[in-house]
Amino acid sequence: MTAPTAPTTPPTLPTAPTDLLYSGTEEELRSAVRALLADRCDAKSVLARAETGRPHDPALWHTLAVEIGAAGLLVPEKLGGQGASHREAAVVLEELGRAVAPVPYLTGAVLAAEILLGCDTSEAAPLLRELASGHTVCAPAVPLTLAPGAPLPPAVRDSGGGALTGSVTSVADAVAADVLLVLADTGLYAVPAASAELTPQVPLDLTRPLATVTLRSATGTRLADPATARAAVAGALLSGAGLLASEQLGLAEWCLTETVGHVRTRHQFNRPVGSFQALKHRLARLWLDVASARAAARAAADALATGAPDAPLTVAVAQAYCSGVAVRAAEECVQLHGGIGMTWEHPAHLYLKRAKADSLALGTAGHHRGLVADFAELPAP
């Protein structure tokens, strides 16, 4: 018997044309980042740094941000950046995910850059220039779990004359930052990290450190009024969520490749364990999930890059899908490595921890499904 061809119904939602492939330039950028990470960010050194409680590698960041120019990819050339797009940033994130690299890229080069771009003020421009050059690391002082479409927290108040007071928890990469971008009730402020109190928290994900940021009448430079600030942060959260899908893709791909390699060589019952159909089918399904995650992540990056009208839906779809794939890939990696997967010395746990933390970052899959319900007009009861 033969499968019938698919029925087609008219689309109920506009679908923007999309380029889901990688360009030559993107592949060149990938090669450069991958070579750097292979050389300077192997799993052993990531683990060693994480164990010191200071996972960031400033020298690695310098090379990535300054020499490869990754810090300024999203920043236009007239503001000192590379004038590239979300598509290129997504490729960088795929490679960083593949290496669980402890660098403040997502927070600094994506979220902070997008916030500053969204401010579009003369006050923001100089800081954007420094960020793009790779010499100044900025981190948004918002919880890593803050999601696009969620209400923004009024955690910090101007207690008079620009003296900022308040406390924000679960701020990712704050300990690596030179400048914190603080959303206060009176607008957006650039606050030198030195004038904030940073209390490191013990993170589930050892490669993306979290801290509580406490401001006690701290002063900073005001970059935008409250309405602009909120719009800028909301836009940055959308880009961040869309590009996080690419980090999740890279992470999942590493887990799949590593696991396939393991079951091909690991022998039990006088056969490679990868010759057992039960395992082959699990890995084939996982491969299919990863191939699908690539399409979803590419669609989100392309929609953000082209400013497609359906970008919010495409981002929500990518996040709702890719979070689960990354976690599943990391969980399968641990399971199919058997006892080895449970050890501290095998890097699988770093990937599991990053994957699980990523599934909370910038909105859970459930949150993003709620956004899909809104965009696709499938309302809750």
Binding site: M1, T5, K280, A295
Partner: protein, 399 residues
């Protein structure tokens, strides 16, 4: 002979010439389709003289769009899907010039419907274990075929069949198979409807008793039928997974429509499942789109092997959800009358039909289990399970 048309502009000019010489309004449907075939605008990637122009496959869309806009009749690919998707590429790859000239035109025009005589009661997923015999008659050189085939869609409307049969039982099962083009009107061919869980008989059993096939209807060399069949199977899977659907197209469309139109049916639990499946359907659409972009860019990826798996699973889950969403109506079924449809109407009927018919999606055209093995072994490079049937003669296999 003119140089092959390879640009969209040249193709548009050819379409204009065709329409001018054979105005669709004043031309009988079959005559128009024959003229279109002869103009090389049937499948532009086929060779000249065989309905094509040796043009890039991607340019077919240009021709189709122009002809559709002009109101020209189509060849109803759903009705002749097996011929187009499986018989034609195999005949093109392995046929003699005589076979190509004889069969491709009426196949494409739809004057001759094709079916596929592959599966047998004892050879489904293990297709190469098939036992239908073809014995060569001394003197005439004709082949005499005896055996039984099963799950044969369209056998009741087909004029021709692609057939694989065992010609040497003394060889291991993958060798000793030969590929034939079988006349469905030949004496000894008997087609019996096989009623399905949907109530209708979309496919059939086919009994072959002393069926005579001339050697000129053999496709490929004697004993090389498995290699020929693999071409057919590869094209089968491509044609299943390769379809283009719009956002919220396919199986998710009717359930989303019910959700919007009938708020009284909504529950929180169903909402969560609907959203998960909507997201997965959208991701599947994007994955298919990415695959097409890869093919168009000349970088074919292995994703094609997986698309059928995804669609089978999604169709089953989505149609199952739809029955549940319909509450009391989900208890009812449209019509159990036994019918023998000419084509499978996938969404035209009710949710219960969709739910039951979708069960076939993970079986037809290679079961999901077999496809997972293919992905695991050919894409991921995982080792095959140990096998003890590879070097045994077919006649010595346990059955």
């Amino acid at each position: 002979m003119t140089a092959a048309a390879t640009t969209a502009e040249e193709l548009r000019a050819r379409v204009r010439d065709l329409l001018a010489a054979h105005p669709p309004r004043d031309t009988a449907r079959t005559d128009f389709l024959r003229a279109r075939f002869d103009a090389g605008l049937a499948w532009v990637h086929y060779p000249e003289g065989l309905g094509g122009l040796g043009a890039p496959r991607t340019l077919q869309a240009v021709v189709d769009a122009e002809l559709e806009a002009a109101g020209a009749p189509g060849n109803d690919p759903r009705r002749i899907g097996i011929g187009l998707g499986m018989a034609a590429p195999t005949i093109l790859a392995y046929g003699t010039e005589e076979q190509k000239n004889r069969f491709l035109r009426p196949l494409w025009v739809g004057e001759e419907v094709w079916c596929q005589l592959f599966s047998e009661p004892g050879a489904g997923s293990d297709l190469a274990a098939l036992g239908t015999r073809a014995v060569r008659e001394t003197g005439s050189g004709d082949w005499i075929v005896d055996g039984q085939k099963v799950w044969t869609s369209s056998a009741h409307t087909a004029r021709w069949a692609i057939l694989i049969a065992r010609t040497d039982p003394g060889l291991p099962k993958h060798r000793g198979i030969t590929y034939f083009l079988c006349d469905m009107h030949a004496p000894g061919v008997e087609v019996r409807p096989l009623r399905q869980i949907t109530g209708e008989a979309e496919f059939n059993e086919v009994f072959l008793t002393g069926v005579r096939i001339p050697d000129s209807h053999r496709l490929g060399a004697v004993g090389e039928g498995w290699a020929v069949a693999r071409t057919t199977l590869m094209n089968e899977r491509v044609s299943i997974g390769g379809m283009r659907i719009p956002r919220e197209g396919g199986m998710i469309a009717p359930v989303a429509a019910v959700w919007r139109e009938r708020p009284e049916l909504r529950t929180h639990a169903l909402h969560q499942r609907l959203l998960e499946l909507w997201v997965e359907a959208e991701v599947a659409r994007l994955t298919g789109e990415r695959l097409r972009q890869q093919l168009a860019a000349g970088q074919p990826g292995p994703e094609g092997s997986g698309m059928k798996l995804t669609f089978a699973r999604l169709n089953q889950e989505i149609s199952g959800l739809e029955v549940e969403l319909l509450a009391e109506e989900g208890l009812l079924y449209e019509d159990w009358t036994m019918r023998r449809p000419e084509l499978v109407d996938f969404t035209g009927r009710d949710a219960g039909y969709r739910y039951l018919r979708a069960k076939g999606n993970s079986i037809e055209g290679g079961t999901s289990e077999i496809l997972l093995n293919i992905v695991a072994e050919r894409v991921l490079g995982l080792p095959p399970e140990p096998r003890d049937d590879k070097d045994l003669a077919w006649k010595d296999l346990s059955r």
